[in-house]
Symmetry: C2
Subunit: 859 residues, 2 copies
């Protein structure tokens, strides 16, 4: 039961695939689940509905939706209907029949019997002093009658269980047996209520048989509020370090999966030992849970999730090194430097010469700015063919902010060079410290009295106000678009509960005590570094809030790398930190947010598409989950922000975008975690968070191309592998570059999955990662020949599967539902395999994902 706000679609699909395969393996195909059941996640994403539909589920039930929404739906008997999960895919392929459960995941009041329930047991022995059968029967009939008013058919569902229930199942069943027996006995006296044990899919069957016409839902169920001051929008950001670790692990898992395919079983046993991707796959699957990546778990549980991921990293490190050894013949001692995010990498910091291998999991060639900590002042960099590359060494900025342990003296410099890597492949670079008396890299220039500071590259120009130190404008040099943009960091004070309501801000809930955030500082001190490869403005807002704004050579976005923490709490105030970009764009209350990193939804401030919003929390009620992208636009310009992890975000006024990047709170928020969200590191201080945002300014019609491709690269970062050279490996070698593809795929095609299924089969998912109206070129239909796609694999045949890979697509027959819109005529054809298997040509429509089990000659 994954969270729906913070995971990417990739991770959702991966974990569902793992689970559905387990069910098939364990119980057989006959036990394929027909109903999706997300009774606890804190709001529901449209993309989740789309994915469930494509996995072949007939229906979906959930428990949590906005209390105002629920009230209206109850009144209008609109608790059940069809949810259109995609604005791109042809109905009904992403349509999902969806029902709101009557009591969340709880039993009706008074009918809870378990270790952790206090309801009295049903006593039907007339000789007992505690005889209470009649009372229970009456209460049940009343309850059923009341509930039936909210639902359209003659059938209603009651969820008999809850959190931590059925630890002692006998207590439940003993009482339900009695309840069922005695309620049904009333039929003799004319009662029309018939109660029995059932399942969600049986219930769904009966809804379907009712042959009603159902409403259609187009938007999503975010944000979720359970009452007027309790918006579950804090968890969009809670535990930002864990959220980033999960995101980074996702990319690693794709690399690990791909290399198990490309190197075959040599990846699993080789000079680096035995290991399999399974460890990370399982850890990642668990991490998608709605109390994992959400950040709503207790601290020790969060520690365990991280520990599980770290085990996965160890396993995948071995897989990757074995695979690269095998594919490249590189006999260096390889390592992956998992702490590179805090500028730690023993190879680059200690070796005078080292190798950098760059594995690219995308289907197209990529450029990537390698950035590693070094002790030296200048380096030469050469590619696999010995051709030299430009490089730049500069002093580190965030130096000294991390708790490295006493033994490690941090490297003062960073080396940057622009590497490239072929599709589904790797390239190799050799880095050599320059000998002799090399000049120190020029130190950053402290900005003192300038009025304006400018950095720029071929495509963009940024200006900063020399007095405030803040970003002041951005110009797209290709289109000539110019926009004043002021960026600064602010904090909301997390509510401790107030006279109006006791609700606090906590792991789940975001509740600022006032609606206007305070700047961390009105000014930033600036240092500027300019080199051939990158120009950086380094901003210091406070000892615990710094940022580098940089433009890499050739980059079409500005990168904002921020460093926040430890958030001070000496004044006993909880703080929720945002970064905010203010522009004069006239956005008319509208902004755009992604759903799980895929399709964009338009949001409107203080508005919900399906009910009249009475918003009692002006800020929290406008926050939405940003899995990857937050944007706003007017007719001429679009500003897009791409994140490196899931965050909460909003547009609190026209022309403004904000993302919440860190939270430190001092009170529990009464939703079950039982702890304040007050993360501290090994040094006892609040956690420090380092992250990056990519900022795009472009005309609306060319924005998607830029941000989607950059976003893809954020989700599927190339993996750096470092080699310590020894005698035998001192020279470049011929297999320093490799691609798993014969030719690069079109940029619009994302290789969503490429992993080993069994000894002769691989799982392949291809995706057209653009929406219909995103881009004139990249939104076009694409056809791929799977048989000729791979450079080293002989494809014999393939079967197209449902998205979860647990059923052949041709065997899928979903229930059909009449809706108020009646587009259902082409329903029966929608999910068929449209391609002749013999020629292995696969066509992709915008936002379509197609899933194949591909048989090859040995893997």
């Amino acid at each position: 039961m994954n969270d729906e706000a913070t995971p990417t679609y990739i991770d959702i699909i991966d974990q569902m695939t793992l689970g559905l395969r387990f069910l098939n393996d364990t119980f057989g195909i006959g036990a394929r689940p027909l109903v999706a059941w997300h009774i606890d996640p804190f709001g529901h994403s449209r993309e989740q509905a789309s994915l469930f539909a494509q996995m072949g589920f007939d229906g979906f039930f959930f428990g949590r939706l906005d209390y105002q929404d629920k009230e209206k739906r109850q009144k209008e008997k609109n608790m059940e209907g069809v949810w259109r999960g995609s604005a791109n895919l042809n109905p009904p392929s992403a349509d999902l029949f969806t029902g709101v459960l009557p009591n969340g995941y709880n039993p009706p009041d008074g009918f809870c019997w378990d270790q952790l329930c206090a309801d009295e047991p049903i006593v039907d022995d007339k000789n007992s002093r505690e005889y209470n059968k009649e009372k229970f029967v009456s209460l049940f009939l009343e309850t059923a009658k009341k509930q039936s008013k909210y639902y359209k058919t003659n059938h209603i569902i009651m969820t008999m269980g809850s959190d931590f229930q059925y630890e002692n199942a006998n207590v439940w069943f003993k009482n339900m047996d009695k309840l069922i027996k005695h309620v049904n006995e009333k039929q003799k006296d004319g009662s029309k209520v018939n109660v029995f044990y059932s399942t969600p899919s049986c219930y769904l069957q009966d809804l379907n048989k009712a042959k009603l016409t159902w409403s259609v839902k187009y938007d999503d169920f975010f944000p979720y509020a359970d009452s007027a001051h309790s918006f579950w929008t804090g968890y969009f950001t809670s535990r930002p370090a864990l959220k980033r670790y999960v995101r980074r692990s996702s990319a690693l898992l794709q690399v690990c999966n791909q290399l198990e395919v490309l190197a075959g079983t040599q990846a699993n046993k080789g000079p680096y030992g035995r290991a399999e991707s399974t460890v990370l796959r399982q850890a990642m699957a668990v991490a998608q849970h709605h109390d994992a990546v959400t950040g709503t778990e207790k601290q020790h549980v969060a520690n365990d999730y991280a520990w599980q991921l770290s085990r996965g990293w160890l396993a995948c490190e071995t897989v990757i090194k074995n695979a690269l050894y095998n594919l490249s013949g590189n006999t260096d001692k390889l390592s992956i430097c998992p702490l590179l995010n805090i500028s730690l990498c023993s190879v680059t910091e200690s070796e005078k010469q080292f190798r950098v291998m760059l594995y690219n999991p995308l289907g197209r060639e990529i450029a990537w700015n390698v950035r590693v900590p070094v002790q030296g002042r200048a380096y030469t960099v050469a590619n696999h063919a010995g051709k030299p590359l430009d490089s730049q060494v500069m002093p580190q900025f965030f130096l000294g902010l991390y708790h490295h342990g006493k033994s490690h003296k941090p490297s003062v410099n960073e080396l940057v060079f622009q590497a490239s890597a072929p599709p589904l492949g790797f390239s190799t670079y050799t880095v050599t410290s320059q000998k002799g008396n090399v000049a120190r890299p020029s130190p950053p220039q402290r900005v003192q009295h300038q009025e304006v500071i400018v950095i720029q590259n071929e495509h963009l120009q940024l200006t900063f106000n020399g007095t405030t130190g803040l970003l002041s404008s951005m110009k797209n040099l290709d289109s000539g678009l110019f926009l004043p943009v002021v960026q600064n960091f602010y904090w909301y004070q997390g509510s401790k509960g107030n006279a109006e309501n006791i609700q606090t801000s906590g792991a789940y809930i975001f509740r600022p005590n006032v609606s206007t955030p305070l700047p961390i500082s009105p000014k930033a001190q600036l240092d500027v570094v300019k080199g051939r490869l990158v120009e950086e403005v380094r901003q210091t807002f406070s000892p615990w809030c710094q940022q580098v704004v940089r433009l890499y050579q050739g980059s079409r976005h500005a990168e904002f790398e921020w460093h926040v923490g430890s958030i001070p709490i000496v004044d006993h105030l909880g703080r929720e930190i945002i970064t905010r970009f203010d522009t004069p764009l006239r956005t008319k209350g509208l902004f755009l947010t992604d759903a799980n990193g895929r399709e964009m939804l338009t949001r409107r401030r203080n508005f919900r598409p399906t009910w009249k919003l009475n918003n009692s929390e002006p800020v929290a009620g406008n926050y939405y989950p940003i899995t990857s992208t937050l944007a706003m636009k007017d007719e001429k310009a679009q500003v897009t922000l791409v994140t490196d992890r899931s965050q909460g975000g909003s547009s609190m006024k026209d022309g403004s975008l904000e993302l919440m990047i860190h939270r430190r709170l001092l009170f529990d928020d009464f939703r079950g975690v039982g702890e304040a969200l007050n993360e501290t590191g090994a040094n006892g201080q609040g956690l420090t968070i380092r992250g990056r945002h990519l900022l795009f300014l472009a005309p609306p019609d060319s924005s998607a191309r830029l941000s989607r491709l950059a976003g893809e690269l954020q989700l599927s970062e190339p993996q750096l592998v470092f080699g310590t050279l020894h005698k035998k490996s001192r020279h470049p070698y011929k297999d320093g570059e490799f691609s798993g593809l014969r030719v690069a795929l079109p940029a619009s095609v994302h290789v969503l999955s490429l992993s080993r299924w069994d000894a002769h089969t691989l799982l392949l998912r291809l995706e057209l990662q653009f929406e219909k109206h995103d881009d004139r070129n990249l939104s076009r239909t694409v056809t791929i020949n799977i048989a000729r796609m791979f450079s080293t694999l002989d494809v014999e045949s393939f079967k197209e599967m449902t998205l979860g890979a647990n059923l052949r697509l041709k065997d899928l027959h979903r229930l059909s539902w009449d809706t108020v819109e009646r587009e259902n005529e082409h329903r029966s054809k929608a999910m068929q395999e449209p391609t002749d298997p013999s020629d292995m040509m696969v066509t992709l429509q915008p936002m379509q994902i197609r899933t194949f089990l591909v048989r090859t000659k040995a893997l």
Copy 2:
């Protein structure tokens, strides 16, 4: 798992019979339990061991014994051995192999896995952060090694469970499976420990196979102390009202059982409706539980036990009335007046003429002083043949002490007459109010200035000190024995915990705060009533403590009927009330107490037979359970007290006997009940308790005869049934007297059980209720012809059974154990049926009980 201190042997046997029969009926004879398992009762009675042995158990395990005893047994490897349950029966018929469990009923420290346990689960997955298998294996091996030092064989038992455990059994089994697996794996490395799931009987088998010579235990395990200041001797008296209700219900159940046999199925359906004895039998069985009759349950649970008994009373009232209607032809409207104990009986209080039927469950004819509340001043009483009897009307003494409700105006007078009833039968008396101007009964004489007050009958004379109002001496007129005896009521202040130890006095624990009890009053006000049938001294010690000392015509004991309560707590002190009899007898620290109403044990103050006692609680550590009898003696005289319910008692100094009769305490004593023992009635006041003690003074060699027969009558009171006459029943009728026996049994023979087993079979238990050395005549062997015993039943055949009636005696083959005493030669013969079934002659030895299933021509 009945309590062992407070139930009578009759009730223990009855409830075990019910349970063992349930096991036979449910699982078959193959599931007959071989081991008795009393892991929680608060001390262990020798009679219980004897009864278990006679029920055919091979062994017995328990958990609670004095902490000093346990320490010594551990040191001496004497945790297991043979317990000789009887000083009268030939070994090994009452010998029971007995083991003390290592940890009470708990698992070893650190090995508890359940809903209510906090021990960490065993994690044997090396990939888990919580891997702890090795730690558990080491701890287990250490634990096993330590425990093995206390036990003689190579086998040890570990009790893996506790109170409220296995609610969620999977947690236990999952962890034990792992523990067993991993501990046994250590055998590869030379470990000698083999652990497996076992049962008490398997364990016992292995102890038996060890062929060791075992110690012999002759005394019992009372009192139980779990630490220096925590003697579990309070519960001997706790909830005296419930204890009396249980005792009185026991007699009613015997009557009910017998009438179902004697009247057959006519008892179960008749003019009074349908009913069976089962209701009371089950309620009584439950009431023997070690947190029921003990008084150590919460108040609402005590209420439920009482409620269950009251349902049993209703059922048995119907059975008895149907039976008497059927056997006698009496068409009166019959009722039983269950509140006669508080002088409430609507028939006798409202009718001018009424009938009294007296059913006697004993095998001999009895005399009984009928005492009923009446409104009239004088009555004539006639037996079934119309022969008039003497009677006496006198003012009630305890009048106005009860909370009767507003509508009831209590009767001011009591009518007394001496009835008799034939063995296993009834007699009928007609009582008629004398018409016309009858004089009021003479009021009690207030004692003002006399020096000495004397009451007497043919056998006894009591003198009272006119100044103090206290009993001053007693004389046995038959033997000429004279003894100064001073009786008074005292109170111990229940400890609230003190600096030495936090232990409080509570439901389980007796801990007075000082060793010398305070008199409730040094003086009593006296009123004297003398009539032809009874002479009474009525003592008022305080508004909440009164007593009548009476001598009935023909009685060989003095009756002390006391009335105590509501105990005041305005000073916030807990009070524990005793009655004490002080004499100049030189008793050398010795006194005698019964075990479950059967054999007597000799006690010695501040002494235990099997270890050197370090008594840190001078009073509580000398308290013993008195189920029926407390006595002391010197060469010439014995003073014996017979109680009407279980109480704690002692002899705190030579020549003195004390019984604790009521307790009201204000603190929980930390043994699980979680409430203070502060019983309050419907009026919100502390409970009032009315009870009676019989006091005997006789030469030692004739004391047992008197006290045992009177005690038998206390345990098996005749049942009074009252008839409201109507037109048709205004005259005496011929079947006013009935006996189920052809001839009375000898007085030494107690009809322990006579109940219906099935349509053609009755359960019969006969007992010789005297010990070997009790009495020259009554201790003699007796032979009974079962075939000719009953007046109305045609006996066809019988089978002799074990005491629990679940196995034919001839099929019983108990394990044989060598002891340090080696009397085991005649072992194999001891339990055989010694009687030729064809002649149906049954011989009884002192203290022998024999159990038969008797087949008759229809019941």
